[in-house]
Subunit: 408 residues, 2 copies
């Protein structure tokens, strides 16, 4: 394993005070799957009536637990549900052994928690290609089941960390038709990726009552505006998982409700930003805004190409307002651009104006903005109404140190 | 500018002894376009009867000289031709000023060399977005024209360097129908990219007689197997240029000749490998071979995704046979893969066999291969006959140092 890294300079001061979500209980334990000195398994059990939605990695080499979850998502919501996550081993690229491992683990969870097998979801995050010692988790299931508690979500956030430098959580309470509902979620990920293919996992819970199909569609739609708009280094994991569980315990129906969607969006964006803030080696949090593109898809292509460019990211690490590298990234993106209509801002400083350096550009002003810990780069294409915002971090010696200097 | 970097550990021992190509003369000078203490302009003048072919960057923000060259390529070949290249300023993203700069410079070259304006090609490599002081080059044209010599190709290779740590050249002589022809070429580029958007430029000369259309088609075909198969960091420059000039001075017709194409392929591959060997911060030269893909296009997508993955490249820097990261890269590439048919070799060591770690895998053996300066990673997909080979380098602290630590 990589050596322990110091807490990210972009980390929030402390883990937030998350509201309790009725109908969800958590327990954690140290099963010693790989790590020996910390908790590495979390179990969440939801009451009957819970709807579960999920969005998963599109990787063609995705993990055995992901394949199992994808089959089960969309099942009946009158039963309860259970989610078990372990850190240390990803159970990916483990062939038929991996599938057997998931089958035995989920069967044991169903038997222990009395949740139907088709409502038991798992995720594994850590080393790829090694058989997982799932027996060590099975041995702990009774203990986990006995210790379930409504207020252990922070422990859960800690148990699923791999190379994360801080536990990630976000939550909110909103009124739907005058009645309060609660949303709380946790995430892990030190970017899209981490040493040994640790991955991004996100679990969000609410006591709102939402139909399964509506829950799935709002989750997929908001994932495109939050978790699908962040990147640390362009590498995509084999286990990315985002799940949303609606217990309905509040009795408040939030199906197709805009206030619910807005509140959920806020929680998801907060968690997505925390993942970027824990990007490997990150020292800068960067918002890339694109406007005036031919369409939204082109805007996303341009924005992600800028956000993933090693040259742009190293310039940001060097606090260098090197807008030529933004021009380069736009040029290679493949999306439509007219060189003589492109304008670029660093913070509020207009750097390039319709195809050339702005006549009023003062590099000292732009350089001053680059010293901030949170940066904004905006590009306008002057072509249409396509727009997007994505978030990334800089590319530093810390990234090389984490991923190259220490043998896994 | 970045501080001067030490010569790449992957550099060849010395610049090769290149054969003289009849019909081509070179001159270089220190015009002080940006650099003050070195040659920064090369002029090559070809005799009447020379055919000129070219392949250029597809960037939508490509430089003014590239746009000018693209219009002229394919013109009549009974005239001579001239190529002028400067380093220090890229003349890219410079709007109408950039076009005027090219127009004035090419007109002055035509007047000085007696080559028709539509046969005068230029390239500029260096900083983006700053007006180019082309007058400084115009002032030196008479001197350059007076000093043209058939044996100054090494000086030419040096004059076009920016952050390259060594000058790059390759050449060969082959028999076509029993008669000798000569090929010699030079390249610059510290990868696809370098600080301030310096770029890859390649100029190859031959005394074979080849029709313009045949020259263009063989160049484009071989570019796809050589320069389009290398990557240092996935960033694409605004000025990439590859030109091939056939003077015909040998009197040997090599139009549609396979021996000529083979010899040219060898020179192009040699130059392409030298560019990778001078990749920013590179300490390992890496061949990525893909076989058994559904088709050649899928093979290229998988190979380039592996070659561009920051996680794969940092693992190589760390001499870590981390095959899980290769699996990850395959998974995200978007090309077809069946997890349970994938096999992976590091050097000659079979690491993963049809979807899982090989039963005979000995990590110590793979780790031994990773210590070499030249590495081979092979992936077989078991799907079809698609195959390709691409080349890249590792991703090290040196890259961050060059691109982030020193302000441009």
């Amino acid at each position: 394993m990589a050596k322990e890294m110091p807490r990210s300079p972009l980390a929030p001061d402390h883990f937030p005070d998350l509201p309790v979500v009725d109908g969800v209980r958590f327990a954690t334990t140290a099963a010693g799957v790989v790590y020996s000195d910390r908790t590495d398994v979390m179990l969440a059990v939801m009451d009957p009536g819970t709807a579960v939605a999920g969005v998963f990695t599109k990787s063609s080499t995705r993990s055995a637990p992901v394949l199992d979850c994808q089959v089960k998502i969309g099942g009946p919501s009158d039963a309860g549900a259970a989610i078990l996550v372990n850190s240390g081993n990803a159970n990916a690229f483990t062939g038929h052994y991996g599938q057997t491992s998931v089958a035995e683990l989920t069967a044991a969870i169903a038997a222990t928690t009395d949740v139907p097998l088709n409502r038991v979801f798992t995720a594994s995050t850590g080393v790829i290609g090694e058989p997982m010692k799932h027996d060590r988790i099975v041995d702990k299931l009774l203990e986990l089941s006995d210790n379930l508690s409504t207020d252990a979500i922070r422990d859960a956030a800690q148990a699923i960390m791999t190379t994360d430098t801080f536990a990630k959580g976000a939550g909110t309470q909103v009124l739907i038709d005058g009645k309060p509902i609660t949303i709380a979620g946790i995430a892990k990920g030190s970017g899209m990726i981490a040493p040994d293919m640790a991955t991004m996992l996100v679990y969000i819970f609410t006591d709102a009552k939402v139909s399964q199909s509506s829950l799935q569609s709002v989750l997929a739609r908001l994932a495109d505006k939050t978790f699908n708009c962040i990147t640390v280094d362009s590498d995509t994991s084999t286990s990315d998982t985002l799940m949303l569980c609606a217990t309905g315990a509040s009795g408040v129906d939030a199906t197709e409700n805009d206030d619910f969607a807005d509140a959920l969006h806020g929680v998801m964006l907060d968690l997505a930003h925390q993942v970027v803030r824990d990007g490997e080696g990150a020292t800068k949090f960067v918002e890339i805004r694109v406007t005036g593109a031919a369409n939204d898809a082109d805007a996303k292509t341009h924005a992600m190409t800028i956000a993933n460019s090693p040259l742009v990211k190293t310039a940001i690490a060097g606090e260098d307002p090197n807008w030529g590298r933004v021009v380069m990234a736009i040029g290679k993106s493949g999306a439509v651009a007219d060189r003589d209509l492109i304008s670029i801002w660093f913070g509020d400083v207009l750097v390039a104006d319709k195809g050339w350096v702005s006549p009023d550009y003062d590099e000292a002003e732009a350089a001053e903005h680059m010293k901030d810990q949170s940066l904004r780069i905006r590009t306008d294409f002057g072509l249409g109404n396509g727009e997007t915002t994505v978030w990334t971090c800089d590319f530093t010696h810390g990234y090389i140190e984490i991923n190259a200097d220490y043998r896994s």
